[in-house]
Point group: C2
DNA sequence: CCTATCTTGAACTGAACAGTCCAAGATGTG
DNA sequence: CACATCTTGGACTGTTCAGTTCAAGATAGG
């Protein structure tokens, strides 16, 4: 059982990420991680460092993976902000509908726990939210919308997107989640039409 | 030091509530509770039962206290849904601005942790969200809005209200939180005016 | 002022925790 | 086949956890 690494780092990180995502930092023990990944404690420590380091790596992985998908969604509706934002929300709605990953959102959950997490982890979660807002601001920065409005709608949309994490954990139905999104979309549509 | 209770139950529950609210269930130890309340472990157990029972009691206290404030806000704008909902959001915005209590929201945070909390606690948090939605539905059930719209806006507003908890923990400014609310208010205003 | 009653503080218990260590043994090289 | 190298599993450490126990002593009633 040695000589070469006996596992695929990406698969292990995915398993750890899902475990943290489902149960949170505090309620995930190293035994949980060992069980979820199939690795024993020594291998986890030698490959990923301590619990904080592994969590940070999982959070980064999550932020990059879904960040890419959000980015892609936003640019798929290029030039048409309404379609871009709809595609953006669709990423979240589909993730919540996917039975292979937990409800909620690792970033939202990390943000909620900032008072008890290490500064590095808390900072990373806040950064992820800020990056999300920047992406949205760019997608909304068209002739159809005043600059300040782009900023404001970006803030609103980031928040509504996070609210889906809370509501999905509160057992809201897919239909209810769509309703939440639809009303924000109608507000955006209104703002775009009053100018365009 | 005995004969009569040496403490005020309400003050103790408030202290425990704030502790849970700030740090969450998992990151609050009985030592933390003992420190926060000034009571020792025996007194906590004899007066409130185990950690789960105390948490549930704090959650109920939170739900009732702020539930009353939300209720009051909604009825303060009687007949005028727009004013009622604005007052509703104001309760949350002022709570977040209050330096005497933590950011975030005990209900939102409990909802986020449903996968690792006891069923009784998880159920109570989900109930609290449902009650909030019912309150909003009632306040929105006017001639100015179709019945289905009242339901839909209630769902949206509950979600946006929860999003303020996440965003406040992600260090959003008061101004940003107000922007989030304002855009939902504009959507509601639009829906009301297109009928009234 | 005496006694039954009740709160309280501190010590205790067994379990779970994060993190460390090392012998066993599989691997790749020569 | 032999040896140096590196991963791995499991045992171990010290700490912290939730929950229990109980003697010390304060209180209220007679």
């Amino acid at each position: 059982m040695a000589g070469k690494k006996q596992f695929d780092v990406d698969i292990v990180l995915d398993a750890a990420m899902v475990q943290f995502w489902r149960a949170g930092y505090a309620d995930t023990s190293l035994d949980d991680l060992s069980r979820a990944t199939g690795l024993n404690r020594s291998s986890i420590y030698s490959s990923f460092g301590d619990k904080d380091s592994l969590y940070l790596r999982c959070l980064n992985r999550y932020a990059v993976r879904y960040g890419d998908r959000y980015e892609q969604a936003l640019s798929s509706g290029a030039g048409e902000p309404l379609r871009a934002i709809q595609a953006f929300f669709e990423v979240t709605l589909q993730r919540i509908a996917d039975p292979d990953v937990p409800d909620g959102c690792l970033v939202a959950q990390t943000a909620m726990a900032t008072p008890v997490l290490s500064p590095a982890i808390a900072t990373r979660a806040i950064e992820a939210v800020g990056l999300q807002r920047a992406r949205l601001r760019t997608a909304l920065n068209t002739a159809e919308l005043a600059e300040g409005d782009a900023e404001n709608y970006a803030t609103h949309i980031v928040a509504v997107n996070q609210s889906l994490a809370v509501m999905s954990r509160a057992r809201a139905s897919q239909k209810q989640l769509r309703t939440i999104v639809d009303i924000s979309m109608s507000a955006l549509s209104q703002a775009l039409h009053s100018r365009g």
